[in-house]
Symmetry: C2
Subunit: 483 residues, 2 copies
Amino acid sequence: MTPSILEKIKSIVGTKNYSDSIEDKICYSYDGTPILNTKPEAIVFPENEEQISQLMHLANQEKFAIVPRGAGTGLSGGSVPTENSIVLVMTKWKNIIEIDEANLTALVEPGVITAQLQKEVEKRNLFYPPDPGSMNVCTIGGNVAENAGGLRGLKYGVTKNYLLGLEMVLPNGELLKTGGKNMKDVAGYNLRDFIVGSEGTLGVFTKILLKLVPKPTDSVTMLAYFDKLIDSAKAVSDIVANRITPCMIEFLDNTTINCVEEYTKIGLPINSEAILLIEVDGRGSSVKEDAETVLNILKKNNASNVQSTSDEAESIILKTARRSAFSALARRRPTTILEDITVPRSELAIMIEKVQEASKKYDVMIGNFGHAGDGNLHPTCLTDERDNNEINKAHLAIDFIFNEAIKLGGTITGEHGIGLAKKNYLEQVAGIPGIEFMKKIKAAIDPNNILNPDKIFSMKPRCEGSLPNKQNQIGEFTHSHNH
Amino acid sequence: MTPSILEKIKSIVGTKNYSDSIEDKICYSYDGTPILNTKPEAIVFPENEEQISQLMHLANQEKFAIVPRGAGTGLSGGSVPTENSIVLVMTKWKNIIEIDEANLTALVEPGVITAQLQKEVEKRNLFYPPDPGSMNVCTIGGNVAENAGGLRGLKYGVTKNYLLGLEMVLPNGELLKTGGKNMKDVAGYNLRDFIVGSEGTLGVFTKILLKLVPKPTDSVTMLAYFDKLIDSAKAVSDIVANRITPCMIEFLDNTTINCVEEYTKIGLPINSEAILLIEVDGRGSSVKEDAETVLNILKKNNASNVQSTSDEAESIILKTARRSAFSALARRRPTTILEDITVPRSELAIMIEKVQEASKKYDVMIGNFGHAGDGNLHPTCLTDERDNNEINKAHLAIDFIFNEAIKLGGTITGEHGIGLAKKNYLEQVAGIPGIEFMKKIKAAIDPNNILNPDKIFSMKPRCEGSLPNKQNQIGEFTHSHNH
C-alpha cells in the first residue's frame, strides 16, 4: 500500500481517526485467537456511514482489504488483518439509541458492549439473553457477525434469534437497511438472518435492531458434582427426556475443575469427574416445580453433592466455576487453544470420551467444558506455541477432535465462527455445493473481494494438484426414497 | 415449448409422472391466490433427486421455467405458473422419515402435510408449533418456502425458528445439504435461514429437518367480546406490558364476526366491535397464574363477556370463530382477497382504524382479523373480480392499506410472501439496495433464471422510462450519529 493511498485513507476519516504507528499495528494485528497475527497497514476509526462508504469505494479502486473489528475478542481469527489491509474499528459507535418498551426492541450501534445493553434493559424489566463468555468486553456488532451464543442459549437461543434489523455499508459503498420492528416479515429474501454469522465478509454494520423479551422473575441455580462422568451425561439426557428446558446446562470436566480450583480456591471437588451447572428460570411457581424435578434427576444419577439457590447473589457464586473456566485454563500454559465443536445432543457422552482420548493419544493437556445442554463443547488445549513439538501435538489432537465430531454428525463450530482458524474443515461440514453457494454470494456482493477476504473460505481457485472431490463427502440425513 | 422438449421431460420422470392434459393444466394454473392464473406447459411428479436434477439441467439447456409446488394453498401466487413453465409437484414426497426423541428433531419429506406431522409428534409428547390456517392441507415444503406462521407464532415463532436442515436440488442440478441435528452451527454462511422464505426461487427441497419442542401440558383458552374496538387494542397492549407471552392473541372485527356467525351460528355477539381469542400455555401452575392476570386485564378493559376453559375439547370450540374466519368471509362474495400486513405492535390500533378507513373510503367490504399479538393483520377484501369497477376499488383499498402499513414502519407481508401479488410494493419495504442484493444472489445461484422466475422480484431491467430513485425511500430506524 503506497503512502499516497494511506494519505487518501487518512483524509477520509481525519487525522485523529487514523493511525499507522508500529505500536498500533502490533496491537491490532491479532484478536482473541492464539497464534494468528498479521500487521495491518493502518487502523481507522470511522465516524459515520459516509466515511465507511468512501473507504469501501477507495478499497475497490486501490485493491486493498478492509477488516472490520469490534472489541477483538473473537476466537477464530475473524478480525485478524490480512495482507495489504486496514483495520476498521467500530468501538466508538457505542450509543444505545432507543429502547422501545411497547415493541420490546433495542436499537444500538455496533460498538455497544453486550453486558452494557443487558444492564440497561434489565432496569426496565426486560431481557437480552445472549451471554457469550466475553460479554463484559465484546460488542453487539461482533456478536451479530459471529452469531454469538452463550450459556443461556439452551433455552433462549443465540444472537440470530434476537436480530430484527440491520443497517450496514455494503462492499460497494451502498447503505443497506433490512428488517424492522415487525415481529414477522417475509418481504423478499431473508437478508437479515443470512448476514448474521457472515463474519464481517458482507458488510459493516452501522445500526442493529434487537428483540427483547420479558425478564424472568424467578430462577433456581444448581451446582452438582459427579464422581463419574457418565452419570453427568445421563443426567443431561434425563432432563431433556423429561421435557424440561433449563435456561442452561453447563459442564466442566476434571481438568477444568482442577484449574478453576487452583485459580479461585472456592472448594471445588478436585476428584470429581464432572460438574454440572444447571439453571431453570421463568415466571411463577413452575420454576420451583422444574427445579424439584431436576434435583431428583441429579440425585437419581448419583450426584455426590448438589447445591441449589434461588437467590441472585448466591446464584452468581455458584456460576463462578463455569464463568471462570476459560480464564483459569488460560493461566496454565503460554498458549490456550479454545475449540468449539458441537454434536447432536444424543452424542454428547461419546464426544466427551473422544476428547479424553485425544488428550491421551497425543499427550496434550485438554480441559473440556461447555454447553452440555445443546451439545456444544469447548475442548481447550493448553500448550506452548513456541515449542514446535508441543504445538504439533496440539494440532493433531484438535484435528482428531474435529474429525470425531464430524463423524458423529456434528460441526466444527457452534459459536466462534470459521474465521481463519477452521477454514480447512469447512468442506467436511458444509460440503462442496454448500461452499460453492457461499462463494457465489460473496463474489456477487463483493466482486473485488475487499471486505475481510479469506475469512471462512478462500476465493482463490483450488491448486491444480488437488482435484475437487465431486462426491458428497458430508453425511446424509438418510438414504433416498423413490416415490 | 416444443413437443420434443416435452418428450424429454416425459422421459426423465416417466409417463405416469407426467401430464399435459388441458384439465390438469387448468387445475395447476392457479394456487390459493385470487385472480392470478397461468396455464403451464406440463405438470410433473418427480420421484427422486436425480429426476429433479435432470429437469434442472434440461431447463437450463432449453430455457424453460420450473415452478415448484406443494399443496398449492399459497396466497401470493408463489406457485402460479409463469409463461413457458412446467409445474413440479412434490406432494407425493410424504414420508415422515424419522422422529428423533433424543435430539428432538423430525426429518420429513417436503410433501408431508403440516397437521399430519403435528399429530405424529404429539403422540410422543412433542410439539411442532407452526400452525398456518391451511395446516390440514398445506405441506412442510411450502411452509419452508414461505416461512409460514400461524396463530401460535406469538409465543412459538414461525417455520424459520424450527428449521434445522435442508437438502435441496439447486438450479444447476447439484444437491445441496445444509444444517443438521446440531442445536448450534456457525460453520460458514447461514444458508439454511436464508433459504427459508425464498419462495421456491433458489432450489427444490427434497428433505427437511425440523426442530421439535416439548409439548405444553397445560393451557387456558379465553374468548372475550368487546363493545369498543379501542378497548380490545388496549387489552393487547396491557398484556404485553405485563410481560406475559400468551401462545396466541387473535382478533376478529365486527365484519368478520358477522360473517362467521352467519356461517357457524355459534352465538357470536354481532354487535361487538371486536373479539379477542387468547391462549396461555406451558407447564405447571404458572399457566393458571398467567390466565388469571389476562382475565383481569380483559375485564379492566371492558370486555363484555369472557369465556375461559382449560379443557382441550372446549378450547377447540372457543377457537372455532377464529379458525373459520377465512372460510366464513370467503362465502360472502365471489372473490376474496386476503392480505397479510404487519406493523410494529405499538401501531396495531392505528392500523385497524386505517383498514376501516379504507373500507369506507373505497366502498369495499373488508373483514379484518389476525394475529394481534404480533401486529400481523389479515384485512380481507370481499369483492367480485368479474366486475371491473368493484375490483378496481378493491385494489385501491389494498394499495391504501399497504401504504399506511409502510408509513407505520410495517411490512406488506408477515407470512404469505411476495410471490407475484406484492412485487410492486417490495421496493418500499426492502429498498433498492436490498432488492439489488437479492437479485445479485438470484443471478449467482440461477444465472438462467429458470427456477420460479419473476416471483418476489423481476430480473428484467427497469424500463428506460422510469429512472431508479437513488434516494433511500424506506424509513430509517433513526438519524445518523457522528462519533
